[in-house]
């Protein structure tokens, strides 16, 4: 039997099972059940009748002092890192330069930068190019400076930097690559705009106050080219060319407030004392940096000794002959970074973050094609007789020399045979020239222009006599420097000039002749990289159409044998930039040259 009662009000009731109130304090209170049990009861009846003993207590809250405790919720201390990036006020200034004078409809003078023949792409590029810090940049603040920059395209548009032509996405990547690097090699294939990328990066670094003084060193024939490129891509930057007599040059070296100075490699020697004195540059750029591939040369030594913060090298052929060329360039960028004893794979891995190379087929799908046409020819009867006699006699002589045989002897024979392949020394007969004449007839008839390369000025002179009706011009080492630019201008502007005869040495680097649709390699160079340079005088940014390259090769001669060896090496050229693999030497090595005549390298030579 259960009954409920409310203990708090003390009302009568009962509990079959009492749950005593908790330990809150109670005062005693009498409690009587409400029912009456009469008589003497036994068993369960006695239990019912018995008074229930209940102890109760009255709770009066107003008389009770409540105690409590607070639970404080501690907030954890939040630790922060803070970085300031002082803003250069020059970014806020919009470019003051007037729009460039070049009209897209009229190509620029020869030798100038990218011409209006580049197809104009509509509006802003859709790609986003981020500036990334180099892997060897350790300080967090420096890394964050680059990571927190807006995309390059935003930087450019917000700063209202005007460009002569809209840069390609890969060029923005090149700019981003150079922007954050103290040491870098921009090794894009010739014709992809290394000049533009370097100039634009210099422009942005000057705006960001990351640079104040820049020295650009280039081959002498390219000085005017660089001046024109600066005028085109960064017209607001004052550029000074170091030239003139000693007093003038000294004044120019020491003149304050000149952000960019341009000097040629030959000048480094003459002004050595100046350069190794108190001069310091925030950035030194070496154009055609393969010029310092011989680290023991005075030029290399002087270049390495220039005081500077940043070092960049621009070259389409960082490895012209052997990987040691790259070691020499790195002696300028970061002495000791590459060692002679390093394996080629190690070298590739070590340099990967410092070298950026793109090739046209990868980045410029809209470039017109480069069409190779190998003209395999047979010697004329006169040439054949002379050639056979010379080769047989020459090989016998080489064989008889035994241990006294040197590579120089072999070279002399190779060169003599190659010259015979060009022209018979007695009669002047030439199978190549006959072919060239025939091809040039077509070129001239279609109103186009062609460049003909040869390694011998004598060959160029002979061609010039025979090709008179095409009004040829010559451009080689014997042409005085001050006459070279006018020659190029004449070649470009005069529609009657259909042929430019160029030597590999004078014409292989830096010039822009993208209005030419035909390139003839009258004789082949030892190194495919040099041939590529020559071809890319025409096949480069701004080329109006495809470029046809005719490589002349006489079958059954030394030329064919050299060609086979070089073809194998050409396929391995990019191995240094591949993930794995051992890149070989790119020119003909000693073994290759001796092997042209099935000769073995003398033992003494091998030890050397």
């Amino acid at each position: 039997m259960d009954s409920a009662a409310t203990a708090s009000d003390g009302s009568a009731g009962s509990y079959s099972e009492l749950e005593l109130p908790p330990e809150i304090g109670f005062v005693d209170m009498p409690f009587r059940p409400s029912w009456n049990i009469e008589g003497f009861a036994t068993g369960w009846q006695s239990q019912i009748g018995r008074d229930v003993k209940i102890e109760t207590t009255l709770f009066q809250p107003e008389k009770v002092e409540l105690s409590s405790f607070a639970i404080k919720i501690p907030n954890q201390k939040i630790h922060t890192l803070s970085f300031d990036f002082p803003e250069s006020p020059q970014w806020q200034i919009a470019s003051q330069a007037k729009p460039p004078a070049s009209n897209p409809a009229n190509p620029d003078e020869p030798g100038k930068g990218a011409t209006g023949s580049i197809p104009q792409r509509s509006s802003a590029p859709s790609s986003i190019t981020r500036i990334r810090p180099p892997k060897d940049l350790v300080k967090l603040e420096d890394r964050l400076y680059y990571v927190l920059q807006p995309p390059l395209e935003t930087l450019v548009s917000n700063a209202k930097l005007e460009f002569a032509f809209q840069p390609f996405p890969y060029q923005f990547e090149g700019i981003a690559f150079l922007f954050s690097r103290e040491t870098a090699i921009l090794a894009d294939e010739m014709g992809l705009g290394k000049t533009m990328q370097a100039i634009t990066t210099v422009r942005m670094l000057l705006l960001a106050n990351q640079l104040r003084t820049v020295l650009l060193v280039c081959p002498k024939p390219l000085v005017t080219n660089w001046v024109r490129e600066f005028r085109l891509w960064a017209p607001e930057i004052p550029v000074a060319v170091i030239e003139g007599d000693s007093a003038k040059r000294q004044w120019m070296w020491n003149q304050p407030g000149l952000p960019v100075r341009i000097a040629n490699y030959e000048l480094l020697m003459r002004d050595r004392e100046q350069l190794q004195g108190n001069l310091h540059f925030d950035l030194v750029i070496l154009d055609e940096a393969q010029r310092i591939k011989n680290r023991n040369s005075t030029t290399s030594e002087i270049a390495r000794g220039i005081s500077r913060c940043r070092s960049w090298a621009l070259t389409g052929t960082p490895i012209e002959n052997t990987p040691e060329d790259l070691v020499s360039i790195f002696e300028f960028l970061q002495p000791g970074y590459l060692r002679d004893g390093m394996s080629l794979k190690q070298m590739g891995q070590a340099t990967r973050d410092h070298i950026l190379r793109r090739t046209k087929d990868k980045v410029l799908t809209e470039m017109p094609p480069k069409l190779f046409r190998d003209a395999e020819l047979d010697l004329t009867s006169e040439q054949l007789a002379t050639y056979k006699a010379a080769e047989d006699e020459g090989v016998i002589q080489l064989s008889d020399m035994g241990q006294e045989l040197t590579i120089q002897h072999v070279f002399e024979l190779v060169l003599r045979l190659k010259q015979i392949c060009n022209f018979d020394p007695v009669t002047g007969a030439s199978c190549k020239l006959e072919r060239l004449e025939a091809d040039l007839e077509e070129v001239a008839a279609s109103g186009q222009k062609a460049i003909v390369f040869s390694q011998w000025v004598q060959s160029l002179d002979r061609m010039s006599d025979v090709l008179k009706r095409y009004n040829p011009l010559s451009y080689h080492g014997r042409i005085p420097s001050d006459k070279r630019d006018p020659i190029l201008k004449e070649f470009k502007e005069n529609p009657k000039r259909h042929v430019l005869l160029m030597s590999y040495g004078a014409g292989a680097v830096g010039l822009n002749l993208q209005f030419c649709r035909y390139v003839f390699l009258f004789d082949r160079w030892w190194n495919p990289a040099i041939e590529d340079q020559a071809i890319n005088r025409a096949h480069r940014l701004g080329a109006a159409g495809s470029v046809t390259v005719t490589r002349m090769l006489v079958a059954g001669t030394i030329e064919e044998r050299i060609h086979k060896v070089l073809e194998e090496k050409r396929e391995l050229f990019n191995a240094l930039f591949a993930e794995a693999g051992t890149p070989p030497s790119l020119g003909l090595n000693q073994g290759d040259i001796f092997g042209l005549f099935n000769l073995k390298v003398p033992k003494a030579k091998k030890a050397a």
């Binding site: 939040i78 922060t80 970085f83 890394r143 400076y145 990571v147």
Partner: protein
């Protein structure tokens, strides 16, 4: 090198709080000028809620931690005063309860600032959707709808050359630089 701290009337703040499954919460605050160039950057070390906070704040823990703790700390560290703070996490909207600076959350359907390692923390507070700006949906704290009016009034001046979502990508990368452990292995 002569420098300027930038025109204080055109300083924008971009603040995000991300959650790493092991490290905890990471906050980053980037101040940029009207050209979107960085002026200051502040980031927190990893923050984990205490046991007491986890129990007592319950479902409001994320908003409390992200907005009132992390975001408030970051804003207090800034030397420059931004005119507005944009965030990509609605959990940060609770910053508005402890700060006078207008706060707007930029929402996008496709997460353009996504990072596999640093995730946007889930929020109890949905925020109030008030409109669109530069193609992005904007949320503000329910008690501070005036923040939207402020943004609309100044958008022409402030946002002409700034993309609203792009700075968050930079902040996430900066957080990964500052905390290499937060990068994917």
């Amino acid at each position: 090198m002569s420098t300027t701290k930038g025109n204080e009337h055109s300083i924008l703040g971009f603040l995000t709080v991300r959650q790493h499954p092991e490290l905890g919460y990471l906050g980053g605050f980037l101040l940029v000028n009207s050209l979107a160039r960085p002026l200051e950057f502040h980031c927190t070390l990893p923050v984990k809620p205490t046991r007491a906070q986890s129990i007592l704040y319950g479902p409001t823990l994320v908003d409390f931690l992200c907005g009132e703790q992390i975001a408030r700390t970051l804003v207090s560290k800034a030397k420059l005063q931004p005119v507005i703070v944009f965030t990509d996490s609605s959990a940060v909207l609770s910053l508005r309860n402890v700060s006078e600076i207008p706060v707007c959350c930029v929402s996008s359907k496709k997460s353009e600032t996504a990072s596999k390692e640093l995730l946007l923390p889930p929020s109890q507070q949905a925020g109030v959707s008030v409109g669109e700006l530069s193609g992005h949906k904007i949320l503000v704290d329910g008690a501070h709808r005036s923040d939207w009016d402020f943004v609309v009034k100044r958008s022409q001046e402030l946002l002409q050359q700034v993309d609203l979502l792009e700075p968050f990508t930079r902040i996430v990368e900066a957080l990964q630089e500052a905390h290499p452990a937060s990068k994917a292995a």
